[in-house]
C-alpha cells in the first residue's frame, strides 16, 4: 500500500502497458521535462508579468498623467503615498477584509467540504446547487447583491427588524460587513471544493480504526479529518490571503470605496489613483506594495506551516 501511494505521487507516470521495459530506458525517454517544455510559458510570463512589473517599478519613480512623457521625480511618489492618510487607512482595511475572509470562510468551507465528501442522500444535488456561485463572475455577483440589498426595493425593506433603515452602504461597519459577506458567499464554494477533494482522499481505514477505538463523530472530525486536511487548509488560506489582498471588483461595484473613503482598500485605491485621477506614479507605488505584501505573506504562510517541505499526509497510513 505504501509503495503504491508514494509511486502515485511521483510526477512521472509510467504507462501500464510498457511496464515490461527496463526502468533505465524509461527515465531516458520520458524523464523530467527539459527546459524547452517551459519555454512558451516562460516567454508568456516574462512578457506579460515580469516586464510589466519592471515597467511599474520604473513608473513608480516618475510622474505621468497619461499625456506626454513621464518625468523622473525620484522618491516623490513614494513619499506622497506613505504620507497619505487614505493609503494608510486602505492598508488596514485590506488587512481587515482579508482576515475577515479567512476567519469566516475557513470554518464554513471545511464543514461544508467535509459534509459534501460524504455519501448522504441528496448530497450530490445539494452540493451542485451550492457550487453555483462559483460559476458566476464577480461582477455579476456584485451587481446582484447590490440590487438585493437596495434599501427601498431589496431584502432590507422587507426585514426592517434586522436592517433598520437599510443604510448598509452608508456606514463603514455595515459596508465592510456587506463586502465580507458577499465574498464569503462567493468564495466559500471554491474552498469547500478543495476540502471536499481532500476529505475524500482520507483513507477510510483511519475512521474504521477510530470507530473500533470508540471515537465518536466529533472526535473523529477533530483527530482525523482536521489533521489530515492540514495541507489543504494551507492551500486554501494562501488563496484567501492573496485573493483578499487583490479584491477589487467587489469594492468597485458594491461600494466604490465609500462611504467617503471608508471601504477604499489598497487595490481599489491603486485603480482610483492611476485610472481615475491619472496619477500613474502613485498608482504604480501602490501596485508594487501590493505585489510585495502578497509575496511576503504567502511566503510566511508557507514557511510557518511547513508546506514547503511537502510532507505527504498519507504518511500516517503505513
Amino acid at each position: 500500500m505504501t509503495t503504491q501511494l508514494t509511486r502515485a505521487a511521483a510526477p512521472v507516470k509510467s504507462s501500464g502497458r510498457k511496464s515490461g521495459r527496463a526502468r533505465g530506458a524509461q527515465s531516458a525517454d520520458v524523464g523530467r521535462p527539459g527546459f524547452a517544455w517551459a519555454v512558451p510559458a516562460t516567454i508568456f510570463f516574462v512578457l506579460f508579468a515580469i516586464l510589466p512589473l519592471l515597467a511599474v517599478a520604473a513608473l513608480s519613480f516618475m510622474s505621468w498623467g497619461g499625456i506626454g512623457d513621464p518625468e523622473w521625480v525620484g522618491l516623490d511618489n513614494w513619499n506622497r503615498v506613505f504620507d497619505d492618510p487614505v493609503m494608510i487607512k486602505s492598508i488596514w482595511l485590506t488587512l481587515l477584509l482579508t482576515v475577515l475572509g479567512v476567519v469566516l470562510q475557513t470554518p464554513l468551507s471545511i464543514l461544508i467540504g467535509v459534509w459534501a465528501a460524504g455519501t448522504q442522500r441528496n448530497r450530490a444535488v445539494i452540493s451542485a446547487v451550492y457550487f453555483v456561485p462559483l460559476l458566476l463572475s464577480s461582477t455579476a455577483v456584485s451587481v446582484l447583491w447590490r440590487a438585493l440589498l437596495d434599501p427601498n426595493f431589496g431584502i432590507p425593506s422587507e426585514a426592517t427588524w434586522l436592517f433598520g433603515d437599510g443604510n448598509l452602504f452608508g456606514k463603514q461597519t455595515t459596508a465592510i460587513g456587506v463586502l465580507a459577506f458577499v465574498s464569503t458567499w462567493q468564495f466559500t464554494p471554491l474552498h469547500s471544493l478543495i476540502y471536499q477533494g481532500a476529505a475524500r482522499a482520507i483513507p477510510q481505514v483511519l475512521y474504521q480504526a477510530a470507530e473500533i477505538d470508540g471515537a465518536g463523530r466529533v472526535r473523529q472530525f477533530f483527530h482525523i479529518t482536521l489533521p489530515q486536511l492540514r495541507n489543504s487548509i494551507i492551500t486554501s488560506m494562501i488563496l484567501m490571503v492573496v485573493g483578499g489582498l487583490t479584491t477589487f471588483e467587489t469594492v468597485l461595484i458594491l461600494t466604490q470605496g465609500g462611504p467617503g473613503t471608508d471601504t477604499t482598500i489598497s487595490a481599489y485605491y491603486m485603480y482610483q489613483k492611476a485610472f481615475k485621477s491619472f496619477d500613474f506614479g502613485a498608482g504604480a507605488v501602490i501596485a508594487l506594495l501590493l505585489v510585495v505584501a502578497a509575496t511576503i505573506i504567502s511566503l510566511i504562510v508557507v514557511r510557518l506551516s511547513g508546506y514547503d517541505k511537502m510532507r505527504s499526509t498519507m504518511e500516517g497510513v503505513s
Partner: protein
C-alpha cells in the same frame, strides 16, 4: 509547486496595471491619425451615434478629405482618450465635455484654438447660445464647438405625491423646506437621492453655491483661488445644505441608493419620494422605466430661488453640452472647419431633436416643434436661453484628476463625517489646472 503557480497568478494579477500601462505607453505606429488623407472623428459611443453617423455621411458626400467616425463605448471614454491623445492614434476631432475635460490637453499644447476658424466663419461661434459656447473656452480662447444636446439639472417631482401631502413644487427655498416637512409628515422620503453614485449629491452643492454665491465663486476656485472656498458665501451655502440634510429631506439611507441602477428614480416613480434633482435626461429615463407615471404625474421645475443670494435665480447648472475639439496636429484643418460647420446646420438640429437631444444653436427654437416631446424641449430651451450663467458640473469644470476626491468630500459632508470647515479644506486640496 502549488505555491509557485499561486505566486505567478498573483504576480500576474498584481501587475495588470503594468500591462495596461506598457501597452498604452508603447503604442506607436498603427497608422491612423491624419496621415491617410482622412480625418478621424472620435465620439462617445451610445445611441446618439446615429446622428453623428448621418453627419459624417453628409460631410463625405461633398468633401474630398473623408471623415471617419470612431467610437469608444460607454463609461471609459475619458480614460481611453487620455491614453491615446498623445499617440499617433489620436483622432483629429474628438468629443468632450468642455472646460476641465480638455484643460490638461490645452496645457499640454495638443489642441488647436478655434479662433482662426471663427474669424473665417463667425457663425461657428455666433450660431450657438453664448452661455453654452463659452463653457469650452480655456484662458480666453475657444477650443470647442457644441455638438450634442444641453442637459440642465432640474427639480423633478411626483406631483401626485406632492398633492397627497398638500404641497406643490416650490418657488423659493423656504417653500422647499416647508414642502419637505409636509412630505415627511405624510410618510414618504421627501427627496430621492442616489448618494451611492456620489455625483447626484454634487448637484445639490452646485445649485446652492450658484444661488447663494453666484457663479463667480466656482470660477475663482477652479482658477486656483483657494480662498474662494473659505468665503462667507461658501459657508452660508454649506450651512443651508446642512440644514436641509438635517431636516431629513433625503431620508437616512440615501448613501445606499443609486441613480445608475434605477433605485432613486424608482422611488419617485412608485410614489415613495416627492422630488429628485437630476439632469434633463431624467425625463426620458422615466419615460422608459415608468411610462404611466412619466405621462401623468412627472413634474419638472427649476431650482428654487434663495433670498439674499447673489446668483441670478435664472441661472442653471448641469452639462452645458458636449463639444468637438480639434487636435493641433491635424493635417486637414480646412476639412475640419468644414465639418464643424455642419454642427449648426438645420438638418443636424432636426436630427438631434428627433432623438430627444436639445441642440444649443440660437435658431433651435424654430425647430422645437419637431422635437420628440415639443413641450419639454421648449421648457428646457427657454430655461437655458434665459440663463445668464450655465454652470458646468463641478466634476467637469475641475480637471479630471479632482473628481474622485470631490465626490468623496461631497458624500462625507452629507453623512456628517466632514463638517463645514472639513469640506472647505477638502475642496481647497483639490488639484486645479
Amino acid at each position: 509547486m502549488r505555491t509557485r503557480t499561486r505566486f505567478s497568478r498573483m504576480l500576474v494579477g498584481g501587475v495588470t496595471l503594468g500591462m495596461a500601462l506598457s501597452l498604452s505607453a508603447c503604442g506607436d505606429d498603427g497608422g491612423s491619425g491624419s496621415s491617410d488623407g482622412k480625418i478621424h472623428v472620435l465620439v462617445y459611443g451610445d445611441a446618439t451615434n446615429k446622428v453623428e453617423k448621418a453627419v459624417v455621411a453628409e460631410f463625405n458626400k461633398t468633401s474630398k478629405v473623408k471623415a471617419v467616425l470612431d467610437t469608444i463605448p460607454g463609461a471609459t471614454y475619458q480614460q481611453k482618450l487620455q491614453t491615446i491623445i498623445n499617440t499617433p492614434q489620436a483622432p483629429d476631432v474628438f468629443y468632450n465635455w468642455g472646460a476641465g475635460s480638455i484643460q490638461p490637453f490645452v496645457k499640454a499644447g495638443l489642441l488647436m484654438p478655434l479662433d482662426d476658424f471663427i474669424k473665417d466663419d463667425p457663425k461657428l461661434k455666433s450660431a450657438f447660445l453664448p452661455s453654452v459656447f463659452n463653457a469650452a473656452q480655456v484662458d480666453g480662447k475657444s477650443y470647442g464647438v457644441p455638438m450634442r444636446g444641453t442637459q440642465p439639472v432640474l427639480l423633478f417631482s411626483n406631483d401626485k405625491v406632492l398633492k397627497d401631502a398638500g404641497t406643490k413644487a416650490p418657488k423659493t427655498w423656504d417653500e422647499l423646506i416647508d414642502s419637505v416637512k409636509k412630505l415627511k409628515k405624510s410618510g414618504v422620503t421627501p427627496i430621492a437621492l442616489g448618494g451611492g453614485d456620489q455625483w447626484p449629491t454634487l448637484m445639490w452643492f452646485e445649485y446652492l453655491y450658484d444661488r447663494i454665491a453666484g457663479p463667480d465663486l466656482l470660477e475663482k476656485a477652479v482658477g486656483g483661488d483657494k480662498d474662494a472656498w473659505a468665503s462667507e458665501d461658501s459657508k452660508k451655502a454649506l450651512n443651508k445644505l446642512k440644514e436641509l440634510v438635517d431636516t431629513g429631506a433625503f431620508g437616512t439611507n440615501y448613501d445606499s441608493v443609486k441613480y445608475t441602477d434605477g433605485g432613486s428614480p424608482a422611488l419617485v416613480a412608485r410614489g415613495k419620494a416627492g422630488y429628485e434633482l437630476m439632469g434633463s435626461w431624467y425625463y426620458s429615463q422615466q419615460q422608459e422605466n415608468a411610462k404611466e407615471f412619466a405621462e401623468k404625474d412627472l413634474g419638472y421645475n427649476s431650482f428654487p430661488t434663495i433670498d439674499g443670494g447673489k446668483g441670478d435665480p435664472a441661472n442653471v447648472v448641469g452639462n452645458t453640452n458636449n463639444y468637438y475639439s480639434v487636435m493641433k496636429k491635424t493635417k486637414h484643418p480646412e476639412a475640419v472647419a468644414k465639418f464643424l460647420k455642419l454642427m449648426y446646420s438645420d438638418k443636424f438640429i432636426k436630427q438631434q431633436l428627433a432623438i430627444g437631444n436639445l441642440p444649443t444653436t440660437t435658431n433651435t427654437e424654430k425647430f422645437l416643434d419637431t422635437a420628440a416631446d415639443p413641450k419639454y424641449a421648449r421648457y428646457q430651451f427657454d430655461l437655458v436661453k434665459k440663463a445668464p450663467s450655465f454652470q458646468l458640473s463641478w466634476d467637469q469644470a475641475y480637471p479630471q484628476s479632482a473628481s474622485e476626491q470631490m465626490h468623496q468630500a461631497v458624500q462625507q459632508f452629507f453623512n456628517g463625517s466632514l463638517d463645514v470647515d472639513g469640506f472647505i479644506k477638502a475642496m481647497q486640496a483639490l488639484p486645479t489646472a
